[in-house]
């Protein structure tokens, strides 16, 4: 298969269509506008529905409707627009509806900037809307991975009847990279016996709702969600490690920041400093066990978390590493991107400090 050059946002949209997505609802915001732009002509071609909604809130509620009808549905936005969608995400969780939400993050808070950011990590991984819920959160670091993860996102959403977020920084949306369209194994479309498709002689009316007025049955429902989350944690946690075995320092980073961190690790390697890269692909569920085991290695003196925010995944890294090794942080925020040279400087500093502290 010959490689083609794709812009991240377009590749994400095309991958969704190839994964069987037949309903897109969105509202424009930079840096993800190429997703609705592409969908506006591609969806009708594929026999699906494209709606530019009147707002982000309307769009996420349209996703709820399409998902309830059993259609593979998605929306996309960027940070401020994703904040608006939080209520709808909580409703999707509460109604156990499969849907895919793309967040092409920009620098916040508020309207912030249109430049890339990663400051929605905690929102995505801890608190998608209100209530005791979670969604699966996938963090691509290249256009190829973004395209591949879109297909996975729809499969995971159907398998677990849950919203799935693809959490990327604006750079993923805006840059171009060569990619290959992979032939995915032809899986039969997931059965959706719960979908609201009309009674069609089936005596029972399907009702999709997140309203459970009896608190004991609502508690039982939340506990069943928790059980589902345990299954997801056990089966779906993904990460990548590069040169982590026998490393002096581990650098934990996600998305494009991981590529910048890897570039810093290569600089350090030339000086004889072995820095390994630990990159979670699922940031919820977080690969705690894998990071803990790597940090436990005798060679590892410290763990450095690098992010395009002021320390959000840092909480997960601390939970994984605990007091086994010192955990440090380096980040740029508000739309600024970390430089490989500055990350390498931070690693040198940390190693000097660890040495001094004996």
């Amino acid at each position: 298969m010959q490689k083609e050059l794709w812009k991240g946002n377009e590749a994400i949209a095309e991958a969704a269509v190839r994964a069987g997505c037949r309903a897109y609802f969105g509202y424009p915001i930079t840096p993800q506008n190429e997703i609705p732009e592409y969908m506006s002509h591609r969806m009708p071609e594929a026999g699906g529905a494209f709606v530019q909604a009147e707002s982000e809130i309307a769009a996420i509620n349209m996703v709820y409707g399409a998902a309830a009808a059993g259609v593979r549905a998605m929306t996309s936005s960027s940070s401020p627009g994703i904040s608006l969608k939080q209520e709808g995400i909580s409703y999707l969780i509460g109604a156990q509806l499969p849907a895919v939400i793309v967040n092409m993050m920009r620098g916040g808070p508020g309207l912030g900037t249109i430049q890339p950011g990663q400051a929605d990590y905690i929102q995505a991984t801890r608190s998608p809307g209100h209530g005791d819920g979670h969604m699966i959160v996938l963090a691509p670091s290249s256009i190829q991975e973004a395209a591949d993860l879109m297909a996975d996102a729809f499969d995971l959403a159907d398998r677990y009847r849950t919203p799935v977020m693809v959490l990327a920084d604006g750079m993923i949306g805006q840059m171009m990279e060569p990619i290959e369209w992979k032939q995915r194994e032809g899986k039969p479309p997931a059965e959706k016996p719960w979908a609201v498709t009309g009674r069609e002689g089936d005596g029972k009316t399907h009702v999709i709702t997140s309203l459970r007025l009896k608190s004991d049955s609502n508690e039982a429902f939340v506990l069943s969600l928790a059980e589902k989350y345990r299954q997801i944690e056990a089966a779906e946690t993904r990460f990548e490690e590069v040169n982590c075995q026998g490393a002096d320092v581990l650098i934990a980073a996600f998305g494009t920041t991981a590529r910048i961190a890897l570039s810093a690790a290569r600089k350090l390697e030339k000086e004889g400093v072995k820095a390994g890269l630990f990159r979670p692909v699922t940031v919820w569920p977080y690969p705690y066990g894998a990071l803990r085991r790597l940090a436990e290695q005798e060679s590892v003196k410290a763990v450095l978390t690098v992010e395009m925010n002021l320390g959000q995944m840092l909480y997960d890294v601390r939970l994984a590493v605990m007091d086994r090794k010192p955990v440090y942080f380096y980040g740029r925020t508000g739309g600024m991107v970390p430089e490989p040279a500055h990350i390498a400087d931070r690693v040198r500093e940390i190693l000097a400090e660890v040495k001094k502290n004996g």
Partner: protein, 234 residues
Amino acid sequence: MADLSAAFPPHDVRIFVILGAYGAGKTEFSVNLALALAARGRRTALADLDIVNPYFRSREKSALLANKGVRLIAPQGELRDADLPVIPADLRTLLDDTGLTGVIDLGGDPAGARALAAFSGDLLSLHPAVWYVLNRSRFENADARRAIQSLQGIQAVLGLRVTGLVSNTHLLSDTDAALVREGAAFAGEVAVLTGLPVACHAVRDSLAPELADLHPLFPMTLRMNRPWEDNWED
């Protein structure tokens, strides 16, 4: 042996309008062309008229351009990083200052070409080179029919006729000489169908020695890099 490289960029052109589909490589080509013109001792300006992309615009290379003596015509201050269709006021200088050589970098697709459409009447009398950058690795240019459709769509919005093709088939870091040759053959095919000449073959400098038989050959030093790439200037 005649120095073929001396023929490019052409001496008798004062204004170069660079357009094409998304991802064709217009910005990389425009930045390199402006630097090449300045290196020949021509007083040069680069106008960043990209109103469709929020990132990876030629204005990001302001320090490099200033350092090499290229005047940058682009939105200033906070507007530099905005996603607003801003036409810089000093674009007029390019039209009026007859001693100035200008490269105009347009955003992709007909939407990007619209930024310059208001000036097409003034430009017409200056006989600009209007070059369509062609990258076969992008879906808009995957075959000759689509490439010509894209070219005509942009031309219609801009109100200026394309005068030449820039063969620029690439896959960023995955580009090799064979791909460039395929792209050159493709550009030849589009040239025959449209009657347009191939203005040049743009290639990254490291591939230039293997492709010396393509001419005019325009070796480029890649400038629009990402922070994790080897040639990132940090």
